[in-house]
């Protein structure tokens, strides 16, 4: 068993070597988490494990037994997370494919450092590729979300 976005999910019958990414996407239908490289190089598959960002493409489900996962679908509760809102306000996305992973990494950063510097942001976001080159807007949106008081 493990929890995804607050809901208990059974892992029964699933090959324990299966990366969390494919369980989320193929088994649970949570397709917001993306496949980009499969080897922890691009960050498209970033989700939170007990609040910490991890790469779902290299995390076998055997490693998350009994733990809590949050995906992009579970980020907004009654309203959007400040990071999501900032992404809309700053029109960050181009193709948009990397952005779920970028947002998950950014949310974790702001939990850790509510008022990050540019260097903090660059460091935290260094595992997330944006092929469309939206990096500067991502940085602006993170600063904006931080100012909006994300705790």
């Amino acid at each position: 068993m493990f929890k995804v976005n607050g809901t208990e999910q059974s892992l029964e019958g699933i090959d324990p070597s299966t990366p969390l990414l494919w369980v989320l996407r193929d088994t649970l239908g949570l397709v917001g988490t993306k496949y980009g490289c499969g080897i922890a190089q691009c960050g498209a598959c970033t989700v939170h494990l007990n609040g910490q960002p991890i790469r779902a493409c290299v995390t076998p489900i055997s490693a998350i037994e009994g733990q809590a996962i949050t995906t992009i679908e579970g980020l907004a509760t009654d309203k959007l997370n400040a990071v999501q809102q900032a992404w809309i306000d700053y029109d960050v996305a181009q193709c948009g494919y990397c952005q779920a992973g970028q947002i998950m990494t950014a949310v974790a950063l702001l939990k850790d450092k509510p008022a990050p510097t540019d260097a903090d942001i660059d460091q935290a976001m260094s595992g997330n590729i944006c092929r469309c080159g939206t990096y500067v807007r991502i940085r602006q949106a993170i600063h904006a979300a931080a100012k909006g008081g994300v705790a």
Binding site: W22, T27, I39, I72, Q94, C95, T134, Y135, V136, I138
Partner: protein, 750 residues
């Protein structure tokens, strides 16, 4: 019609699908049609977007003319636009509706956009490539908006019994100022639908100064769905009962399957089937390989790793990049066999030159590496196939599939999904054809998923290339002669590979008194294709760097030297948006210089570099400000972009495209290449193909000259000047001349 949440539009489209020839003949004489199909629908206009006015005229004349865009003003005030353009990151899904909304004076908040399904019989040509989407549609979209506005005003005028000329419109309302009355579009929609459609060609369109929406910043219409992880992309498609497929092709293109351990693969957990496809031998469709079909992506990926194929490589590519480089260097100084351009007498001019400069430039093959790897979902149902695609040329994909499966085109039902990046990769539809071929063998819907390694190793690459230049300067430092030998590739022995040609009009040849461009084509099997700003993305690096070398040799300021080459303002082929306009060119150079602080002193180790390039109807000049340290480590502080693509539709989208183009340009020039040996692409994933990360993303300042020329796209033309501007800045900062991309091969790091 699950693709549209708007049931009225769906009904109307369904009507069309079932009986396109039921459209009354009278409609074919009009460019904009009114629909009264569904009761209570409100005002529904339908019109046709076509790539060119000639095609528009042909479409109008065709017996079965059918519109391809729908605009509905609902009685509740909602405005729905079915947008035809594939969304691949250039923001078309936002830009098209903005153009309509502007002319119809709609409040942007009332407008909702839906993606069209791919049926060329209904939607006409749908593609996103060559930055053509906006220019092709500009006039048609504006006239549709103006038509809706005129009908809504007419409805209000009738209701109030006042002349229409006394009414104005603003923010989804018609206003009669004289009597202080106003009516919302929603309240007028049904009445407007009862009125005749005015002649769209007689409507007066707004001038640029009257724009309220266009030129402002708008956030993309899909952004909420993007940030909440809604299923949007090709890879997100699920169909009940769907299986998952992978496809293994020969690492050297052209190889065939000799044998494979299919029996073993079929015993692996989750694997449902494994089989060989002969393919049709067309690289853009289906090449031979092994398909594995499984119950999950992971089962399929795992089985693919256990797959062992013996390839018959007798007819396969033996291409070698190291051999190509050696060959190119050996022949560079000769003239090429093909004459591309010849003006005046270059030999004579060089003999009389006060100074001559020579240089050799090179650049490698690069894949597109869209962040969403290629893939496609297909469901073969015996006499019909339903597909979910992320194509930049969906109509071509459909034709290919129909032909391959021997189905009528209308039996290929295609749904267009958002693509995680295009950059030209999705102009070629090999994953679509592969998915169709696999689906034909599988009694269920099936999603074909390429791995990242598949994606990087089976691309249609931006071809590498080489340029040997000689330039001649007179005693005043004026450029009087230009000779270029372009070394490229051919796969048919006759024409250059896709994306590997050079035009006779390539800057600066046609502007000079003596110029010569020759070409050599080396044989190649590796597939090539269009890559963001095809040709220009690489040629601009060589040409604009060499022009800087000449300016330096002449001891002259680069801006002034470039402006002298451009000369008097003239349009090289008047009224042809694809032709250089030296007036617009000079204007962007001056703007880039002014905005970047050109000529102002910089600290030691820091320099500015300039480059201009004209491509895809866009004039762009860029200035990079770069520091270089003793270890050849560079910092790109800022890139100033000055562009003229006519009026800007969505400023936010335009700036985002410039930002993306500069980041892509820097990333590619600095670190990106694929090697080819024994026909094999060496790199497979982002470890070996290190796309630029956030900390190195340059700050971009974009400035636009908003001229009254029809708007053209900027997804592509902002890219080519990036590399030469940065290379020229490195020279200004350090004296280091960089002539070979990627720069990391020359020891440059960031």
């Amino acid at each position: 019609m699950s693709f549209s949440a708007d049931s009225y539009i769906s009904e109307i489209i369904a009507e069309f699908e079932q009986a396109p020839r039921n459209v009354p003949r009278a409609f074919s004489r009009r460019s904009i049609l009114k629909f009264t199909g569904a009761a209570g629908a409100g005002l529904v206009l339908a019109f046709s977007l076509t790539p060119s006015s000639a095609e528009a005229a042909a479409a109008m004349a065709a017996k079965d003319f059918a519109p391809n865009v729908f605009l509905r003003v609902a009685p509740d005030g909602g405005i729905v636009i079915i947008s035809k353009g594939p969304e691949i990151g250039q923001g078309i899904k936002t830009a098209f509706p903005l153009i309509i909304a502007e002319e119809m004076d709609a409040a942007w908040a009332d407008v909702r956009v839906e993606q069209a399904m791919i049926n060329p019989a209904i939607y006409g040509r749908q593609s996103a490539g060559g930055s053509t989407s906006i220019p092709n549609s500009w006039d048609q979209l504006r006239r549709a908006g103006a038509t809706a506005r005129a009908m809504l005003i007419a409805a209000a005028a009738k209701q109030w019994n006042v002349p229409a000329s006394e009414c104005t419109a603003s923010a989804s309302k018609v206003i009669h100022a004289a009597s202080n009355r106003e009516a919302t579009y929603g309240s007028l929609a049904i009445k407007a639908a009862a009125l005749p459609v005015p002649d769209a060609t007689k409507l007066t369109l707004k001038t640029r100064s009257e724009y309220k929406l266009l030129g402002n910043r708008f956030t993309g219409v899909d952004n909420l769905a993007v940030v909440t992880g809604k299923p949007l992309f090709g890879i997100d498609q699920t169909v009940p009962g769907m299986l998952y497929a992978v496809y293994e092709k020969c690492p050297a293109v052209g190889g065939k399957v000799a044998s494979a351990n299919l029996d073993y693969i079929k015993t692996l957990p989750g694997v449902k089937d494994a089989f060989v496809l002969e393919g049709n031998g067309i690289t853009s469709e289906v090449m031979p390989g092994v398909a594995i079909v499984a119950d999950s992506t992971w089962s399929a990926f795992k089985a693919k790793r256990a797959l062992q194929v013996v390839w018959d490589e007798s007819g396969a590519s033996k291409d070698s990049w190291t051999k190509i480089i050696a060959d190119a260097k050996r022949i560079a100084k000769q003239a090429g066999a093909d004459s591309i351009q010849k003006i005046g007498n270059v030999d004579e001019a060089l003999k009389g030159a006060a100074k001559t400069v020579e240089a050799f430039y090179s650049y490698p093959f690069v894949p597109h590496a869209t962040l969403e790897p290629q893939g496609c979902t297909a469901w073969f149902k015996g006499d019909e196939i339903e597909m979910w695609v992320t194509s930049q040329t969906p109509e071509r994909a459909r034709t290919n599939v129909a032909k391959m499966l021997n189905l009528a085109e209308e039996k290929v039902v295609m749904h267009q999904l958002r693509a995680g990046g295009g950059f030209g990769r999705r102009l070629v539809n090999d994953p679509v054809s592969e998915a169709a071929a696999i689906a034909q063998r599988v009694n269920a819907p099936v999603k074909l998923q390429w791995t990242r390694e598949d994606d990087m190793r089976h691309d249609f690459y931006r071809p590498g290339g080489f340029h040997q230049f000689t330039g001649g300067l007179d005693a005043n430092g004026k450029l009087i002669a230009w000779r270029g030998h372009f070394i490229t590739f051919t796969s048919d022995g006759k024409t250059p590979v896709s994306g590997g040609n050079i035009a006779a009009t390539e800057f600066p040849a046609p502007l000079l008194a003596n110029a010569e461009i020759t070409q050599t084509m080396l044989p190649l099997m590796t597939p090539c294709g269009a890559w963001r700003a095809p040709r220009s993305n690489a040629i601009a690096f060589a040409v604009q760097s060499f022009i800087h070398e000449l300016a330096v040799a002449a001891g002259r300021d680069h801006v002034e030297f470039l402006l002298e080459i451009m000369g008097e303002p003239r349009w090289m082929a008047p009224q042809n948006p694809g032709a250089l306009n030296t007036g617009r060119a000079a204007a962007v150079v001056k703007l880039a210089a002014e905005k970047s602080g050109w000529g102002q002193p910089l600290p030691k180790g820091r320099g500015r570099g300039l480059a201009f390039h004209f491509s895809h109807a866009g004039h762009f000049a860029e200035v990079a400000e770069v520091s270089v340290d003793a270890q050849k480590r560079i910092t790109v502080h800022k890139v100033t972009v000055a562009g003229d693509v006519g009026p800007i539709i969505n400023l936010s989208g335009a700036e985002n495209q410039c930002q993306g183009a500069v980041t892509d340009g820097l990333s590619t020039m600095l670190n990106l290449q694929v090697g080819i040996e024994n026909g094999r692409i060496l790199e497979g994933n982002f470890t070996e193909y290190p796309i630029l990360r956030m900390k190195n993303a340059p700050i971009v300042e974009a400035h636009f000259i908003q001229s009254d020329f029809p708007p053209t796209g900027l997804g592509e033309p902002a890219l080519p000047p990036v590399a030469p501007a940065i290379a020229n800045a490195v020279f200004a900062a350090s004296g280091l001349r960089l002539r070979n991309m990627p720069l990391r091969n020359e020891g440059v790091t960031i």
